[in-house]
């Protein structure tokens, strides 16, 4: 049944692409027409360090939102907070209007919000296929009582396996299907992590640097897949340092720095925002390094770092 959902939806939903974000003001914490996630005053401190201090955040349904920002800006921590893997010091947030405060991480996932991990978490001594199958939801065979009776879950299992195989092929992991996941290379783990999250068939998928370490050619083909997810009506939120990817697929970009949201907007707009360029992109990130004057580049990096340091001094 789950497998059907995917194949049918591809055909039906070219409509959701229509979500128009042009009307949304490009200010931090901008309200969205149809927000799937709404968060308020979320803070998380580690000792003296405020890792996350988000005043207001909304994620639009049915689009691809990119979350970018310098290293240590608090992106992963925000993911952890939203998905119940970490507990904030304060704040409220909700998914589809339902509060997620104090909701256990697995329940968050069950409500349709699934995340991947920046440092991959593969199940090393399970095969790649088993890793995938674990992702499937609503499995009858996962209940202790029906697990004993194979006829109750056989059919479902086969459907899931077919779907898993499809995804694996797409992620170029099909040849590794029966290998232990622990024997995958760094990039393959990233791929598996993402493919497994897709097995959950989530409404909102949160990817933490999904393409770091993925080969460019493969990345390109995967981006198509991510777009198709959106076209199926799903919401995608991802963290990425790869600007090509951000530019190519995101509909909306949120910029974080030092725990705060400092800018929002369409990719084009954000990438031209001088503040973002200064703090994050660097003026020459599109230039060929061979042609570039090193001194200039270094000065620029220095400038960014100083800006960060200043920001830290006055929190």
């Amino acid at each position: 049944m789950d497998a059907d959902a995917q194949s049918t939806s591809t055909s039906t939903t070219a409509t959701s692409r229509a979500v128009d974000l042009t009307a949304v003001p490009a200010i931090p914490g901008a309200p969205k027409p149809d927000a799937v996630i709404v968060g308020d005053k979320i803070t998380r401190k580690f000792g003296g360090l405020t890792a996350v201090d988000v005043d207001h955040i909304e994620i639009q349904r049915g689009v691809i939102t990119a979350l970018i920002g310098p290293n240590g800006a608090g992106k992963t921590t925000l993911f952890n907070l939203l998905t119940g893997f970490d507990v904030p010091d304060s704040g409220t947030w909700s998914l589809n209007g339902g509060s997620l405060q104090g909701v256990a991480s697995y329940k968050v996932a069950r409500r349709g919000m699934v995340r991947t991990f920046q440092l991959t978490k593969v199940l090393a001594k399970l095969t790649v296929l088993d890793n995938m199958l674990l992702g499937a939801t609503g499995q009858r065979g996962e209940k202790l009582l029906s697990a004993l009776f194979a006829f109750r879950w056989r059919g479902q299992e086969e459907e899931n396996a077919a779907r898993a195989h499809e995804l694996l092929t797409r992620f170029k992991l099909d040849a590794k299907r029966d290998d232990f996941a622990g024997s995958l290379s760094g990039g393959q783990r990233k791929l598996l992590e993402m493919a497994r999250a897709l097995m959950v068939d989530p409404e909102l998928i949160m990817l933490d640097e999904p393409m770091a370490g993925v080969n460019p050619a493969l990345k390109q083909s995967l981006l198509e897949h991510v777009k198709s997810l959106r076209d199926e009506g799903r919401t995608v939120l991802f963290v990425e340092h790869d600007m090509d990817m951000v530019r190519d697929i995101s509909d909306w970009v949120i910029v974080m720095a030092q725990g705060k949201i400092v800018a929002e907007g369409t990719p084009q707009a954000v990438m031209q925002d001088p503040a973002v360029i200064d703090a994050y992109l660097g003026a020459h990130h599109d230039t060929d390094l061979r042609e570039m004057d090193e001194a200039a580049l270094e000065a620029e990096a220095q400038a960014e770092l100083e800006a960060q340091a200043d920001g830290k001094a006055t929190p």
Partner: protein, 427 residues
């Protein structure tokens, strides 16, 4: 300057079929142990070895690793038996040791009630540790509550026998719940200490003078097992030549191996299911499983309870076959030995606990008997300045310790385990 990357040949997955030699090996192996008195066993060993190699080389084409493995193990066992039988003939004349007796003692224990206790306890540990990764070092505690569940109900509370059995099965569930709620969020090594501590607390409490009225102090409790013996349908002992059981043991062995068989069936059924997959995933990385929407805690609790019930069952069976419940029987050592049995067989393998328990007792009893004989009598095989009869009873533990070490060194995956799995995790 350029070479084209060559395409990987991905073989059709459906083509995988059991390797024919695996089946041959299994058949020969079984035959070796039953019909042919060991003659076919070396062939079973050989075929099994071949099949394993073939399957390893082409894992895509062949299935049946388990079959080949079993065939091979049976083959090895049968070959050993064969050699022993051959050696017996003249050795008994040469050595002042009755090798036949040694062998018989060993086999008696390997197939007797003690092995059943360990097999059941190890089945429980297999669920805890092998599949779910819960490092439960308190299996002795589960066994104790199982045994005391029966004894206390029948002796102290004077309930009928069958209610005692029910109590013995409910008690481990309660213990699992009480223990699980606080400790299941602990990291594996902390959990190990917490469970070991709980088991010791239970043992000490059961044996304490202060609670003597409820648990009988360190004398323990007796006088509950007659109902069990009354059910004994056997009229006399059984002597098959290579093993023999008294009338009592025969009944215990029947009940016990039936329980073990049913338990293994249950474990097999569960572990091939998606439920089992979730458990194995939890063993690898809890957070990943959580992120996929599984209630990790609930699964761990189910595993703890299920494994605990098997532990309780082991305790219950021990209590029944031994007809006494004594706190000293439930010391940490028994947990260690159950782990030993599990790992000899291979963790996370359905048949691991069974094979392990049988081999463990075979060694312990065989060595004990051999050295016992070698040091006793007017003209012992071992000169007394090397080993006297007291020391002889230690040698089996020394050898067991050594054996366990060697096993882990040369075959860390146990008899049924998968070498590749072990190789996966570098630290």
């Amino acid at each position: 300057m350029t070479t084209t990357p060559q395409q990987r040949t991905a073989p059709a997955v459906q083509a995988a079929r059991p390797h024919p030699q695996a089946i041959t090996s299994l058949v020969l192996g079984v035959a070796g142990l039953t019909l042919t008195a060991g003659i076919t066993s070396p062939f079973a060993w050989w075929k099994g070895q071949q099949a394993l190699a073939a399957i390893k080389d082409a894992p895509d084409q062949y299935r049946g690793r388990a079959l080949a493995q079993i065939g091979r193990v049976l083959g090895i066992l049968g070959t050993v038996l064969l050699v022993v039988w051959l050696v017996l003939g003249f050795a008994t004349d040469v050595l002042p040791v009755d090798v036949g007796q040694v062998f018989k003692t060993a086999l008696n224990q390997a197939l007797g009630p003690n092995a059943i206790v360990y097999a059941l306890a190890a089945i429980g540990l297999n669920i805890h540790f092998g599949y779910t990764g819960l490092l439960n070092f308190g299996q002795a505690g589960f066994m104790a509550v199982g045994a005391y569940g029966l004894a206390v109900s029948v002796v102290i509370l004077e309930t009928p026998f069958w209610l005692g059995i029910v109590a013995a099965l409910v008690a481990p569930v309660v213990l699992a719940l009480v223990l699980g709620f606080p400790t299941l969020r602990l990291r594996a090594d902390y959990l190990a200490i917490a469970t070991i501590a709980t088991a010791e607390i239970l043992r000490l409490a059961f044996g304490s003078v202060e609670l003597k009225d409820a648990f009988g102090g360190s004398n323990g409790l007796t006088g509950y097992a007659s109902a069990y013996q009354d059910l004994n349908p056997y009229g006399g002992p059984l002597d098959l030549g290579f093993v023999e059981f008294s009338q009592r043991d025969l009944w215990s062995v029947t009940v016990g191996w039936t329980l073990v068989g049913l338990s293994l069936l249950l474990v097999w059924g569960l572990m091939r299911s998606p439920w089992g997959r979730v458990l194995r995933s939890i063993r690898e990385d809890e957070d990943a499983v959580r992120s996929l929407g599984k209630n990790v805690f609930a699964y761990k609790m189910q595993a703890l309870i299920l494994g605990g019930v098997f532990g309780g069952l082991a305790g219950l069976f021990l209590a029944l076959k031994q007809a006494s419940v004594v706190p000293a029987d439930y010391s940490t050592n028994i947990t260690f030995f159950a782990y030993t049995a599990l790992l000899i067989g291979g963790a996370a393998r359905v048949l691991g606990p069974l094979a392990g328990a049988v081999i463990f007792w075979f060694l312990i009893a065989g060595l004990g008997s051999f050295f016992g004989q070698a040091t006793s009598g007017p003209d012992p095989l071992m000169p007394t300045f090397i080993m006297d009869d007291t020391q002889a009873s230690l040698v089996r533990f020394i050898v067991t310790g050594l054996g366990l070490m060697l096993l882990m060194i040369f075959r860390p995956q146990g008899i049924f385990g998968d070498r590749r799995e072990i190789a996966i995790d570098g630290r």
